[in-house]
Amino acid sequence: MSTAPTALAAPPHARGAATAPPARRGRARRRRPYDEVPRWQIWVPLGLYLLFTLIPFYWMLLFALRPAGSTSLVPWPMTFEHFDKVWTERSFATFFQNSMLVGAATLVMTTGVALAGGYALARFDFRIKKVFLLGLLCSQFIPGALMLVPLFEIFRSLQMINSLGSVVIAETVFQLPLSLILISTFIKNVPYALEEAAWVDGCGRFRAFCAVVLPLLRPGLIAVGSFAFVHSWNHFLFALMFLSEQDKQTIPVGLNTLIGADSVDLGALAAGGVIAAVPVVIVFAFIQRWLITGFSAGAVKG
């Protein structure tokens, strides 16, 4: 029942097969059936969904770029007054810097810790492995928001309240279970024989890992690192709770202050939103082609 591989080599969109009459049965057999979908059945729903996705983004840009009081539906004349105001008066410059610091530190810590642990999970059988995996699973059911009070007390006794370190640790810890599972799956997909070959050539385990496994883990590390960064950039409650001094706060907390202001300045709010969106949009544009392949590597199925 298997078909000739040449069928797959045919140019994928060679046919707008909407008109394919039953008379051409012989060819239909060779074509991939999904190419037979009429074009309008793709473009109409996709177009509608694109509107739903993009109008909110456009709306934010519109409010951020048009002058206060304007009701025009195009951001013209364009102004940057809102950005100016948010960046300096509302201290988004400081928030941005803090968020970047927290994001970078969380990225490094999560990736490093998960790489070590993931290697152990992928390559060894050891006694507490089952217990550890069960712990990872259970931790998924713990509501992070509900851990705020005990975590606050821990950080207070460590004298880490109002230090960015507390947020870094909390973000890392809650990012770890997923990262560990992702990285160990990626390591499992690298054949063990490759490492063994390097040992035969005289490498130690660590050198073999760095030389052979690490380069092959690039997509996995990119996925885990960017999840960690995006997650900590976006997360709100830990920063809200653990950082009370204004010059320590992060972007989401700053946004929340703008939302909660007595008379909401919509232009400033929109400009703040754009500032919050820029880094994640860049990261997203960078990783999105790895996103699908990263997951199809079986990462999600564990």
């Binding site: 694109l50 152990a120 050891f126 976006n234 709010l269 996103l291």
Partner: protein, 316 residues
């Protein structure tokens, strides 16, 4: 003929068995423990210990504003919660409604979207990037964006009213009748890409031959979808709905900032109720009891769901 399209037998399992010999070689006995130690210690210190302290506090009276009552409470907190706290039941019911509606809609739209962008068409990569983009947007940023859209003075409703649809000054967030769906729509906007990405990833692994074989046997697109695509996606759908349900249950960012649980407590989920009790009400003992109950409910529902859906079952 639908039987002929079952998945090829578990090659994954065989590979896992090959790997089992993995711990031989130059692994010292201590190495795995050393490697797992940083992750293990962090999680013991900052997840397990706080969780245990939540269990402990749940058995105590512990209220910063009423220090004279502090002390062992036995099951007092739990009996209050079960018998004498309508807010608990209201928030639990709202949580259930929120999770079911959100996950159901996100799955339906995510599946449809994944099937569409899995087709071959011009500009596919660009279209994928655009429709997946809200995936990276945070709860607070979602609130920001949708507050601009929902705002009664200069939001979308104003321009609709200009065009003769609806009335001026419509505020969907302060109307108890519309606030639920307004919040659902905002969360849907950023939640659909999660499902679409996961399902699309799994769609890539459906063997093309199966569709060709089915087409030769005269199965139309609908039958191909029902007999090939859906069975193949089964485990991915079960797992992603479960992960998402737990996440939607626990996540408070969006509702906390968009509605604050209001108006009139109409959108208070259980975690929001806990946050209000513990952080604003300073009643840590009672908040801990609520947390414990939420944890048990989540764990129980998850196990039940995996059992009922026979995860990883028959066609493996």
């Amino acid at each position: 003929m639908a039987q002929a399209v079952a998945r090829p037998p578990g090659t994954a399992r065989r590979r896992a068995e090959d790997r089992r010999g993995g711990s031989r070689g130059r692994g010292s006995r201590r190495l795995p423990y050393l490697l797992i130690a940083p992750a293990g210690l962090l999680m013991l210190g900052f997840i397990a210990y706080p969780m245990l302290s939540v269990f402990y506090y749940s058995l105590r009276h512990y209220n910063v504003t009423k220090p004279w009552r502090d002390g062992f409470a036995g099951l007092d907190n739990f009996t209050t919660l079960l018998t004498d706290d309508p807010l608990f039941w209201d928030s639990l019911a709202f949580s259930a409604k929120w999770v079911v509606v959100e996950v159901g809609l996100q799955l339906a739209f995510g599946l449809a979207l994944a099937l569409i962008v899995n087709q071959t068409f011009v500009g596919r990569a660009f279209a994928r990037a655009l429709v997946f983009s809200p995936w990276a947007v945070s709860g607070v940023l979602t609130t920001t964006i949708w507050m601009l859209l929902y705002n009664p003075a200069t939001g979308v409703s104003r321009y609709l009213a200009d065009a003769g649809i609806g009335e001026y000054g419509t505020s969907v967030l302060s109307d108890t009748g519309t606030v639920f769906w307004a919040a659902v729509l905002a969360e849907l906007w950023r939640g659909v890409p999660f499902f679409a990405i996961l399902i699309l990833a799994d769609l890539q692994s459906v063997p093309r031959d199966l569709y060709e074989a089915a087409a030769v046997d005269g199965a139309g697109r609908l039958r191909q979808f029902v007999h090939i695509t859906l069975p193949h996606l089964r485990d991915a759908i079960i797992l992603s709905t479960l992960l998402r349900a737990v996440w939607e249950f626990n996540n408070v960012d969006l509702l906390y900032t968009l509605t604050g649980g209001g108006p009139a407590g109409r959108t208070t989920t259980l975690p929001l109720y806990v946050a209000n009790t513990g952080i604003h009400g300073h009643d840590f003992g009672y908040a801990s009891a609520l947390t414990t109950v939420a944890f048990v409910i989540l764990l129980f529902c998850s196990i039940l769901y995996l059992r009922l859906s026979k995860f990883g079952g028959d066609n493996r």
